[in-house]
Symmetry: C2
Subunit: 265 residues, 2 copies
């Protein structure tokens, strides 16, 4: 079976009913730590494989420790299996230690039009008016950048040139660098690939996620995704980051919110 690089990097191999082997790929590093969205995608591969349902509809992840590339395991505990939805606890384990704890609800989404949908929370300029980030210094260990294309709404990366917009916001068009249609696992990563929204409010440095919850709202159409990131409050060392993901057909396909620590960089 032919697999994309992303499929391969997120592969979970069943060991027994509740254990999957995974190989965390050094290509998804954000300068040492692996991207949290990538790690959620890995966990969700195992959860869905073991579920009677097809899609990871809600995922709440708590980030305990920074995972490193290399072999790891996903351990599952089935909490409830219902007709509409199943609930699973899934833990990412390296060297016997828990790195990420998640609660996941799987269900099978149908390809139906929404009964009601709000529009995007912000307007995006077309891709040709958006800005790419310069390639990272190879010494930085920012290997994630090579896996994806991000085209940013210019004011939201004004911080790169010393002109932060003054409010927490990051907006970008996104797709994987290799040809691959988005799916729920790509969405799991997409909700965590933007530079932290606090950068455009003037903060800097490693902003560790404490809790990230995201909901899969629909299966994405092929093509670019639009990521709209924003926050409502920064204070006492904490900030929230909401990301809406819209697909090329103009549908809301994912929603996330994380609570994270403001960096001291």
């Amino acid at each position: 079976m032919w697999m994309t690089k992303f499929d391969e990097a997120t592969r979970a191999v069943r060991v027994d009913e509740n254990t999957y082997d995974v190989l965390l790929d050094p290509g998804y590093s954000i300068g040492g730590p692996l991207n949290g969205g990538y790690l959620m995608a890995v966990l969700l591969r195992a959860v869905v494989d073991a579920s009677p349902h097809e899609h990871p509809v809600t995922t709440s992840a708590q980030f305990l420790r920074v995972a490193a590339p290399g072999p790891a395991q996903v351990r599952l505990e089935q909490l409830k299996e219902g007709r509409t939805a199943a609930m699973t606890r899934a833990t990412l384990i390296q060297g016997g230690v828990s790195f990420i704890e998640t609660l996941v609800t799987t269900a099978t989404l149908n390809d139906v039009a929404p009964d009601w949908s709000d529009g995007p929370s912000a307007a995006m300029p077309p891709i040709e008016q958006c800005l790419r980030l310069p390639a990272p210094d190879p010494e930085s260990g920012m290997t994630l950048n090579a896996q994806m294309e991000l085209a940013f709404d210019p004011p939201t990366i004004g911080w790169l040139d010393g002109n932060p917009s003054g409010r927490p916001e990051t907006r970008a068009h996104f797709r994987l660098a290799e040809p691959q249609d988005p799916d729920p696992y790509v969405l799991a990563m997409a909700v965590d690939v933007l530079p932290p929204v606090v950068f455009s409010a003037g903060a800097r440095g490693w902003a560790p996620t404490v809790d990230l919850t995201w909901h899969l709202r629909a299966l994405p159409a092929p093509g670019w995704l639009t990521l709209l990131g924003s926050g409502r409050m920064i204070g006492d060392g904490w900030f929230d980051e909401d990301v809406e993901v819209w697909d090329s057909a103009g549908r809301l396909v994912a929603q996330s919110r994380q609570l994270a620590r403001v960096g001291r960089g």
Copy 2:
């Protein structure tokens, strides 16, 4: 020690390091099922009691089964204890079965002004221009209503008279019926006390929460709270509900998002 009714109803009594006895109070019923926010408050009493930190900063809860009034237990597993934050898995158990699974991060918040804050997502009329719900039919089992006062922004309960606003939204001023200043446990309940936002988009019936994640952003000032509920998409039997909680000093004190099933009522 003098306790309020709410303190008493959410009391968690330590049995051993990882087990607390609780008594789920019939006064927090929404017509049979107990209110999910009330149950989170009960769980959080145990988590915080066992934590070196003072406040439940993030809570992700997965609702597996409908809990009934009566004796129950909270079982804790300490996942990580850090200098800034501690992470705990907490489960509500009745008759040996798990009803709610949570991942909680505790930390100690400081009483400092935010570095940056957006304003409320919607304007609220003053309390005297808001509407109270009629007292529920005593046969309905809606005992929760007697524990609190809600004064609604009129258009958001137009559905009561057959005039839904056509979009998912519920907004209200809130306080407990007994004299009690809001605290993090009151906030845990407050994020789940509004009628489901889908009612004002025309839906009806029991709308079970699947996942509810909320973040405590600051300690609330005494007085009324303002609850701003909204959703972004309803489709395929699922809807999201966001609640912002603002205190009487105009500060954002809590944020929640739940994914729930649309009722078939």
